[in-house]
């Protein structure tokens, strides 16, 4: 499997990354190199081996259902670009 320019463009769009033509060509090569590594991994016979969901073979630790956080809105909003009435403001979203 290899990516063409169109595929690179689509991935960039999904990731909200703007690429110039030169960057797009370089990215295509890099991504195809990565796909090459994956192809080598996929060539290994894994019949009968259950896929792992995580690199370490332990299970999720669970947290008791307690409220441990206090209101630190003032701290967080001090570093936000724009706030009003306790809300974070962002460019208008139209659906």
């Amino acid at each position: 499997m290899s990516l063409n320019q169109e595929g690179v463009g689509r991935i960039a769009r999904l990731a909200r990354i703007e690429l110039s033509a030169a960057e797009s060509a370089a990215t295509q090569d890099q991504l195809n190199d990565i796909l090459g590594f994956i192809a080598r991994l996929q060539a290994v016979d894994t019949t009968g081996i259950e896929p792992m969901a995580h690199a370490v073979d332990v299970v999720q630790r669970l947290r008791p259902d307690f409220i441990t956080e206090t209101d630190r809105r003032a701290d967080f909003q001090a570093i936000a670009p724009e706030v009003e009435g306790g809300l974070y403001l962002v460019p208008k979203v139209i659906e």
Partner: protein, 496 residues
Amino acid sequence: MSATKWEVVIGLETHTQLKTQSKIFSGSSVAFGAPPNAQANAVDIALPGMLPVLNREAVVCAIKLGLAVGGKIAPRSIFARKNYFYPDLPKGYQISQFETPVVSGGGLSIKVSEGTHRAGAGNTAIEKFINLTRAHLEEDAGKSLHEDFHGKTGIDLNRAGIPLLEIVSEPDMRSSNEAVAYAKALHALVQWIGICDGNMQEGSFRCDANVSVRPLGQKEFGTRREIKNLNSFRFMQQAIDFEVQWQINEIEEGRAIQQATVLFNSDTGETRAMRSKEDAHDYRYFPDPDLLPLEITPAWIAKVKASLPELPGAMKARFESDYGLSAYDAATLSASREMADYFEETLTAAGRENAKLCANWVMGEVAGRLNKDGMEMTAGHTVPLAPTLLAGIIRRITDNTLSNKMAREVFDALWVGEGKDADAVIAARGLTQVTDSGAIESVIDQVLAANAKSVEEFRAGKDKAFNALVGQVMKATKGKADPQQVNDLLRKKLEA
């Protein structure tokens, strides 16, 4: 117009907000109504370097649901990242489950009354089993406020990270009635097992309906459109009915249905396409490296099972076998835990032998009066008449103190808080039924003497005349005579 008969196919995805204290991956409070962003901490607003840690109680809720619907609870399930960009999703992905959900399969029984939109109207309800595909744990997103902030959008992240269980049904429903019946049954179940408060106004229980139509008899499904965020049963019914008619019109006029997400406008009663499903929905799911596989041991499941209340299905069966109720009555009384508790408390106080009478009064007078007063028998609502007081009325019916008519009078009085119990109302209003046969017989004698014509007509074979005579006796006793006794004594006298 073609003569094609159309079949409607509906599947529902329901987001139930789980009844926890804290968020699914952080220790922020989930209380409703806090000032904006006062309950959004570093994990919820996605500051770099934060690590989500799973809330045990959210998992317990999922196990409960799995047990209640008879689904399979995964011994190991995986959390995945669902990637999309939206300002109320600060990480750029939602933590959800994809390939291995915590619950798969199972289902629930629904009761549908055909031909009417009113659930429970008439005794014509049919039962149907709706299969579930899966239920998975995920986090909620924040809220976008599009009011005018100088041309900007305001973001409140208090809701970001609130635990949700998304319950996905198979496309098993064939009408808006069935979809609403399923949603109501699920709504009752999640409250019954205590995993969700069921508050639809506050968004604790929201449904998306996948709707398609196909010619009756066709095997393949039609192209579906997904109606988003239905937060009332009435809107669900209206939205599906409108959508179905729209799709049929489109197809009959030769236009193909495009897969789309649509919104229901409750002011116009119409559905409208929101966005077409192209690469906006390429979510690029992958296992979240921040979270390890969730392990649920058989011992844990057993422990949760032991904590579950009796489930609606089991309760319905018990009402039938132990109390001799009909399947319909048993299903109605076990439709919600509040209704069932009210019935059983009445029964305990009135005596098991009066089960049918208790059932009739709870489903009839109590439910009717609640409906009339715009109230419901749901969590947080108190029925004005305590079950023990209702039982007091029922005991006075069975010992013949009260006729049914008198009992209703006592019921109305107690409902509005007049008198401390049935006996007090009976005493205050002088409502005791006359059961002294000597007294009744003397009234009957007077009535027969004064109504010679009716007596003649009865003897000539006119049954109506008998009823007229009963009416006269009841009138003469001011309705206080036991009607059955009047019937028996009168017949005896006339046939003597």
